[in-house]
């Protein structure tokens, strides 16, 4: 078997361990401290934010306009899918005109 094959196999095992690991650790505790509970409730926003923030920093006016559109739609009560499609559509249209 090639090196590539083994890199993928070991990478897959480690990835599965991260996907199950948090649960395995937490399930050993009888009670969860309120601070930990509050920290866990912050996880979605804290982690998902890091997945777009550098791209926003590296982006330009076109990217920022697309995200601004999503924000406006979110705060005027638009659903997730409307936010996403309008923002993505705006990005693609604007990129035809501006680099």
């Amino acid at each position: 078997m090639s090196t590539t094959f083994w890199i993928i196999v070991v990478g897959a095992i480690l990835t599965y361990l991260t996907r199950i690991g948090g649960y395995l650790v937490l399930s050993r505790f009888e009670r969860i401290h309120p601070r930990l509970e509050a920290g866990l409730n912050a996880v979605p926003v804290a982690v998902l934010t890091t997945l777009f923030a550098p791209a926003v920093m590296e982006g330009g006016p076109v990217e920022w306009l697309a995200l601004a559109a999503a924000t406006v739609i979110a705060f005027s009560g638009g659903s997730f899918i409307v936010m996403f499609l309008v923002s993505a559509g705006l990005l693609i249209v604007l990129r035809q005109f501006i680099g």
Binding site: T4, T15, T49, A53, P54, A55
Partner: protein, 244 residues
Amino acid sequence: MSAKLQATPRSEFLEGAAISLPIIVGVAPFGALFGMLAIENHFSVSEAMFMSVAIYGGASQMVGVDLFGSKVAPWLIVLSIFAVNFRHVLYSATIGRHLARWSLTKQAIGYFFLVDPLFAESERRVDRGIRLSFAWYMGMGIPVYISWLIATYLGAVFGPLIPDPHAIGIDFLLPIYFFCLVLTFRGRAHWLPVAGVSALASMVAYRTIGSPWHVSIGAFAGVLLGAFLPPVPSEPDHSEEGTL
């Protein structure tokens, strides 16, 4: 709580499948991009497919093929894949509180599919006060997984034919997707401070230490802030309340 009592596994599965559609729109271009990058870095189509089947984590796969192309030591590639995916520990710790009712087999299967959008959608459902069923979760998870594999294949085979991937926005669709997801969590306690601190910490880390560490560092900063700010009662989720 909406009229969830009459929900059957079948209806829950279909409800999950409907939620998978926007996820696929966001994730499929990313899968195709991975397929393209894999071929550029001298992976075969079957190696690219095997990576998507077994690892199923877009960012880590990209980092993996990128390092592979620059001929670094195999253990370093594996370590980088682990580093990029380390955020999933937080996901399983967080959502695990709501999956504990499932049988061990169902949990073992469910955690394999715990990618970013599935985690986010599951948390949104918890915010709406709906119990997470295995049928709903897999109804969402299976189509996303299959789309990921198809997108990888199409990207690997046809990617080299796309003249200008930038013009169709492939590189920025996923950031938009995650940005919109974060907006849907705005009812949560300390939403803005947590997002702000995570954004700032991840941007500084990205510039100084570099990718992929900005994810762990930014996440750690946000979670720490969330843990130590005074508790406030969380408002219910604003988005798409009680669709049934």
